[in-house]
């Protein structure tokens, strides 16, 4: 097993969310049989943008999907499931614009992963390769693991938080991801969504922002919200312990 978590951790402790996303893209290329990778931010409202790409080709292949509104990344984002295309020429979906450009750029295999935290949809991680061929089970597990880290990194990017600022990031980056396995974070996000009348994405961002600003792990913030001792407000949050 590759030590992806430890590698992610190195980047994580060295700086901002943006460099973590870039590092994840490089790890995808280094540890999987693929030649390019990109991470894009997407929202249900239609906002789209490439956050990081290992090269110009990956950037162009992401851009074309946003322009025409279809492609493997769009599908992964919509259905919340990995879209694994071992051979683009033999693929069932049309994606004509994407496929034409991929052919011009000599890309033959595409593997797109959704960056979702429960129902909160934040973007995609996509890997490209110049030769057809499926990912092995082990490679796929590694890709899914890296997409887990990318989901949290993209959330931090949206929040504008440096991931190393004590908001749940331990010395090892896998702690950052493990922190997000806590059921309370998702329960709290649902509560905040209802309290503020916002989408689940905005509620998740609000929780992460509160954690960042208060310098506490998001799991602790979530526990307080679930225990109803903390309530996030549209204009400034208040602790009900102090009230």
């Amino acid at each position: 097993m590759a030590r992806d978590g430890a590698d992610v951790g190195k980047v994580n402790s060295s700086g901002a969310a943006a460099s973590l996303v870039a590092r994840i893209c490089r790890l995808v290329v280094e540890s999987l049989p693929v030649s390019k990778a990109a991470v894009s931010v997407m929202t249900a409202g239609g906002h789209r943008g490439v956050v990081s790409a290992t090269d110009e080709t990956a950037q162009l292949l992401e851009d074309v999907q946003f322009t025409v509104g279809e492609g493997p990344g769009c599908d992964a984002f919509e259905c919340g499931r990995a879209v694994l295309v071992a051979d683009l020429e033999a693929a069932t979906p049309a994606w004509s614009a994407f496929r034409d450009l991929a052919r011009d750029l000599a890309v033959q295999a595409v593997f797109a992963f959704p960056l979702h935290l429960g129902a909160a949809r934040l973007g995609t991680l996509t890997a490209f390769h110049g030769e057809p061929g499926a990912l092995s089970g082990e490679h796929l597990a590694r890709a899914v693991r890296l997409s887990d880290a990318a989901a949290v990194a993209v959330l931090d990017l949206i929040v504008g938080a440096a991931a190393s600022d004590g908001t749940g990031a331990g010395p090892d980056g896998s702690d950052l991801v493990a922190e997000f396995y806590r059921a309370e974070i998702y329960q709290a996000a649902g509560m905040v969504m209802e309290q503020l009348g916002v989408s689940i994405e905005v509620a998740t961002v609000r929780l992460r922002t509160h954690a960042y600003v208060s310098g506490r792990p998001i799991g602790d913030i979530a526990r307080d919200v679930v225990a109803r001792t903390l309530r996030l407000e549209a204009d400034g949050d208040r602790s009900l312990d102090q009230a």
Binding site: M1, G5, G80, R81, A82, L84, H116, L117, G118, A119, A120, L135, G137, L140, A141, R142, A143, V144, R145, D148, S174, V177, A178, Y181, A183, Y186, Q187, A188, A189, G190, M191, V192, M193, E194, Q195, G197, V198, S199, I200, E201, V202, V226
Partner: protein, 270 residues
Amino acid sequence: MTDHSTKHEGVPAGAQQPTSREHRIADVFVTLADTLVTGFDVAGFFDDLAGACVELLDVTAAGLMLVDPAGRLRVMASSSERSRLLELLEIQNDEGPCLDCYRGAEPVRADDLVAGDGRWPMFSAEAARVGFGSVYALPMRLRAETIGALNLFHRRPAALTDAGLRLAQGLADVATIGILQQRAIQRGADLADQLQTALNSRLIIEQAKGVLSEREQVDMSAAFDVLRRYARRTGRKLSEVAAAVVAGELSSTELQSVGAPRHQSSQDTA
């Protein structure tokens, strides 16, 4: 007061009748097979399975854990909040029968946690504190791989016989088949992606619990009951109902009503 009454009053209510129990076992397997055939929902299926374990094995609580792509166990379903917290604690402390079961790919039985051999000091103390006397863990095995564990908790020591454990392993195997089934339905999907999807659908359920808990001002397990009851009443998938709640497409009136669900537009005012 009641110790002399049963002799003269026939079969007391709640007594074990082998034939009716066999019928119940058959019923449960048929129901589970049914959910496998008609539109499969892994989160709802695991929830049903945990409930079936409690009923058929006469245990106090049951839970199912799945391994994620990073090799960590995560709680997928639990019949009670008490057993869910205990399972979470076990994962956090990296010590306990369910972890041993997963790592060794073998059943683990702890017939008496109080008078135990001290294998899991933190787990045993917490289990005793919340009122569990025995625990059993069965591996979810898929060829050479172990993908999770079925955990059974009882307030009494030595609650399960060898026959009970065999049935429990059968139910653990059904859980494994459930994962395989979902994989077969979504052609081309691989195991890592499958487990990831299953775990993410669990997170959507947690988000929906949060929404309902806030809206109805009830605790998380009461919120879960609202979701589950609505899913059963309308024959919709649990994870689908949870997603509709988080998307703002299900009002409380609809959740509490008996009729067919009606959709309304998203109320995202962000």
